[in-house]
């Protein structure tokens, strides 16, 4: 029973230009109660936070605590 690749749109977005994960920031990943954010490393070695799991309580600590205002919490599409 292989698993399917069903796509899902995620409610939390990160502005690459503002995110300073490169400098070691992981604040949003640290505070999220559902633990759904991670840091991605692209081919050129630059790092950005992103939402890895679509399991969000739209509670907002990630947005509130981000030092650069890079995070935007939208509502999950299903309940928007």
């Amino acid at each position: 029973m292989p698993l399917a690749q069903t796509a899902t749109t995620v409610p939390v977005t990160v502005n690459d230009d503002l995110c300073i994960a490169d400098k070691g920031c992981t604040v949003c990943v640290d505070v999220c109660p559902l633990d759904v954010l991670r840091i991605a490393e692209s081919e050129d070695g630059s790092k950005t936070a992103y939402m890895k799991y679509d399991e969000c309580w739209y509670c907002m600590p990630c947005e509130a605590d981000c030092p650069t205002g890079a995070v935007t919490v939208n509502l999950p599409y299903l309940l928007k």
């Binding site: 109660p33 559902l34 633990d35 991670r38 399991e55 907002m60 919490v73 999950p76 309940l79 928007k80």
Partner: protein, 580 residues
């Protein structure tokens, strides 16, 4: 991160507090203050800085007993009546006597409450009878202030470990088994006393949006407190008294009549008419809400559009920044302006939560469970209508009592086989090559909860639920499959949710009467005080399935007059008022 690693570490502490939301931090602080030499560990599945129901803040203290506004006797009486008399008053009365001291302490932490021009607490009336709601227009300070205190008191904080099973031995608590949510490594914590503050079972029913995490409760509260207490052999009280809340439709956050009510807002039907006299959440109020919808008079709304501009902007300011700050985005997305439209509400999914109802792990007025050395406080313990101040105050009681308990005991020895068995159970989904992912197990369980357990409760439907749950359990135990440590956390939660679903069905079938309005509305039975004026206590039976017994309600501390007993059943607005 998230790669599954093999590892097991054991640590020792005097007091292990599980859950760093609301009750847990206060328990840890009080225990440490009373016994500064004690090694107190506060462990959380998330990060204590931003975990639990109060993650972003709170709009107010819903149940404060403040001298000049209310007395402990009045409060105890009101909560007893709101719970149809099924209430061991000692715990409620002690809370009512001591919560004012806790408010003052929170105030000294820098948490801001609303005060009038004279600097006195500005308490509002929302309940049916008394005056207990203390607004916190700057309630976003609460978690930060609490966290500062934890650091100051040098509490050992362990984040991102999920407790999965309690360890017991020598007839008392011995510690807990925990799993790292990002690496699947095990941590066995030996402790002389354990305090549980793991919050509500918030992922029991499925929200109508279909989004698994679109719950009323903080979705990290999946109900491990209930499942761990159950498997450890503790008693759980009145689980059939579900939590069901009147919420903003789809958004599933509180409409906040508690904030808007004192400023002139109210719950209305489609015609904009008031149909309940009191917006305080209770089973009886929810029954009226349900009847209005069933009677074709819905949707039901929170009505604010008759208020003055300055009142509306103040309500907006509070509701859109403090407790659930995405609420403003939600309304904006739908084009809802409080000045023009009413706010559509609906009935939430079911859950367990004493914060708003009355069910949970059975505790006495010291927050002691039925297992020596094991305490529970907050939404998961059965003290009715706890809310945030109840979590703080009962958490304090647990911490104080645990500090005494550890003075006379050493670690209880436990069977190492228990840890091994738990490792095998936890890791099973990592040992397969393919199978069913946890989100599908969870979705199916919760969808069945909605189909068969949601009130009005029907015997045949609940029995069907039990059959379906057994099938899902078989699938879960034989076929659940995870690819990383994060998914393993979800798998463990799925198993908790299934345990809670089993308990909800069993408890509801056992009490063959109707009680608590909609919360336990069993259509085939009327209320039956002769046979059911009692608690029901659910434990894990010899056969590994839920077992039940009745337990007497303790003699009242505060007497209730015959003509007061049904006050909460007089909720419906009379014809003359409705026409106002």
């Amino acid at each position: 991160m998230d790669e599954i690693l093999d590892g097991l570490t054991q640590i020792d502490c005097d007091i292990l507090v599980i859950g760093g939301g609301t009750a847990g931090p206060m328990a840890a602080l009080k225990a440490k203050k009373k016994n500064p030499n004690a090694n107190v560990v506060l462990l959380d599945k998330a990060n204590v800085k931003r975990s639990g129901a109060i993650s972003m803040g709170m709009d107010g203290l819903n149940n404060s007993v403040i001298p000049g506004y209310a007395t402990p006797e009045q409060y105890t009486k009101e909560i007893t009546i709101a719970n149809d008399g099924i209430c061991d008053q000692a715990a409620v009365y002690r809370y009512a006597q001591e919560c004012y001291g806790i408010i003052q302490e929170l105030d000294s932490f820098g948490i801001r409450f609303q005060k009038d021009q004279n600097g006195e607490y500005d308490v509002k009336k929302v309940h049916h009878i008394g005056t207990y709601v203390l607004p916190m227009p700057n309630g976003d300070t609460v978690k930060k202030a609490l966290y500062r205190q934890l650091r100051k008191a040098r509490i050992n904080i362990i984040n991102r470990y999920m407790a999965t099973r309690m360890l017991t031995g020598e007839g008392r608590v011995a510690g807990a088994v925990c799993v790292n949510t990002r690496s699947a490594e095990f941590l066995v914590v030996r402790a002389k006393a354990v305090i549980m503050g793991l919050g509500a079972a918030g992922r029991l029913g499925l929200p109508t949006s279909g989004y698994l995490y679109g719950t009323y409760e903080n979705a990290s509260n999946s109900g491990e407190g209930y499942a761990m207490a159950y498997h450890a052999g503790a008693g759980l009280a009145n689980l059939e008294c579900y939590q069901i809340n009147p919420l903003i439709k789809d958004y599933n956050g509180p409409a906040c009549a508690y904030v808007a009510g004192p400023m002139g807002g109210y719950t209305a039907n489609a015609k904009g008419e008031r149909f309940i006299e009191c917006d305080y959440w209770s089973g009886q109020m929810m029954q009226e809400f349900f009847d209005e919808l069933q009677g074709g008079k819905g949707p039901v709304y929170l009505k604010l559009n008759h208020l003055a501009e300055e009142t509306i902007s103040e309500i907006e300011r509070v509701l859109h920044i403090v407790e659930r700050p995405t609420r403003g985005h939600f309304h904006a997305g739908r084009g809802t302006d409080y000045r023009k439209q009413m706010i559509e509400m609906h009935i939430s999914e079911i859950g367990f939560c004493s914060g708003h109802s009355a069910s949970g792990v059975f505790v006495d007025e010291h927050a002691r469970t039925t297992i020596p050395g094991l305490y529970a406080a907050g939404d998961m313990a059965n003290v009715p209508h706890n809310y945030m101040l109840g979590a703080f105050t009962n958490g304090a009681f647990a911490g104080l009592d645990a500090a005494d308990f550890i003075a006379d005991v050493d670690y209880a020895s436990f069977d190492a086989g228990e840890v091994e068995a738990e490792r095998t159970r936890v890791l099973a989904p990592t040992k397969r090559d393919d199978g069913i992912p946890p989100n599908q197990i969870e979705y199916k369980t919760r969808r069945l909860v909605n189909d068969y357990l949601q009130p009005p409760k029907v015997t045949a439907k609940m029995e069907l639920a039990q059959k379906r749950f057994e099938e899902v359990r078989e699938d879960m135990e034989q076929g659940m499959y995870v690819r990383d440590a994060h998914e393993l956390m979800r798998a463990l939660e799925a198993s908790t949710i299934l345990d809670c679903a089993d308990m909800a069905a069993a408890a509801s079938l056992y009490r063959t009467e109707s009680r608590w309005g909609l919360y336990h509305n069993r259509v085939e039975y009327d209320r039956d005080d002769e046979n059911w004026f009692c608690h029901t206590i659910l434990t894990k039976g010899e056969d590994g399935k839920p077992a039940h017994r009745k337990q007497d309600v303790k003699p009242y501390v505060v007497e209730i007059a015959e003509d007061e007993k049904d006050a909460y059943y007089k909720q419906r607005v009379g014809a003359s008022v409705a026409a106002e």
